[in-house]
Amino acid sequence: MRERATTAADHLTDEELFALAVPPAGVPEALPRHLSECLRCSRALADWKGAVRDLGDEGEEALASRSAQEWRAVEDATLTAVGRQGSPGRGRRRRLSWALPAAAALLLGALLLTGRNSSARIESGSDDTASFSAQDRADDALLRDVDRLASGDETPGGWGALAPDPSAVDSAAAPEGRS
């Protein structure tokens, strides 16, 4: 990857990065050639994927029981948090380094809140890990890690994150947007 070989005009927009992180219908889109040449965009995409994973990966069975309204509330909170802070692309990485975890934390907080509000439903029929022992939780985490690692789906620790941190480049000459 050669950051210097690309121009600012080539950098992917937020929308392009988001479309790559959350492809329509879950079908991966072809990666733009630019990604293989630009450290900043590849890291930004890794950031987006990490944020999206936080959205979709926690306690599938439990989350599946949320009502549409609960989901909408959670999505609103996440979108607001992400929107308020900008997004990972376009030289905003430094700010997003804490904004996306904050959005994810907000999301999980909202999930816990809605979970508490609908605890009766969860106890009566939904699935959770409340009955798990400490060992079960450790085993559960191990199995999830194994699934992810074995499949090669390791964002944010995958190939995108193998590149050197481009923050030094960002801080030196990052354009604020696609110019």
Binding site: E15, A19, V22, G26, G56, V82, D128, L143, S151
Partner: protein, 151 residues
């Protein structure tokens, strides 16, 4: 003749071996009350599956550690701008370690499959697929709503 039969068998089985590995619900699914109820998992079956996992756990831990170690070495080589041959070797080591982990995982899943009745297995795989589709739907909805909010 045996060689020919073996070759034919290999060709016949090749598509199956190239197929994606069996996907089950994530984590310790057999301990999840709703999942267990959905497939009518008996206590005996749950115990047996737990036993299979317990037997495999040390290997999973070791192979996961091995993979992470190799990934770390590759990362170090990349950070140090190592030469192409070195990187190539490190990448191979990572992928070999990954293959080892995948093999251990698949064999564990196959052992678990033997414990379940065919309809239980089918339901479990179907549930995994439904969960995956729900996740994709959620992400897709999230994506569309974000796109709608574009200035």
């Amino acid at each position: 003749m045996k060689l020919l039969a073996g070759a034919l068998l290999f060709v016949a089985l090749a598509p199956a071996s190239l197929a994606s590995p069996p996907q089950l619900p994530e984590g310790k699914w057999w301990k999840r009350p709703r999942l267990a109820a959905e497939i009518n998992l008996t206590d005996d079956q749950a115990r047996e599956i737990e036993s299979i996992f317990s037997r495999t756990r040390p290997e999973l831990i070791d192979r996961k550690a091995e993979l992470e170690k190799r990934q770390g070495e590759l990362q170090d080589a990349l950070d140090a701008n190592a030469d192409r041959r070195t990187i190539s070797t490190k990448v191979e080591a990572v992928e070999n370690a990954r293959a080892g982990l995948q093999k251990a995982r698949i064999l564990m899943v196959l052992d678990m499959k033997q414990v379940l009745k065919p309809d239980q297995w089918d339901r479990l795989v179907r549930m995994r697929e439904q969960l995956r589709e729900r996740r994709i739907d959620r992400l897709e909805r999230f994506r569309e709503r974000r796109m709608d909010r574009r200035p």
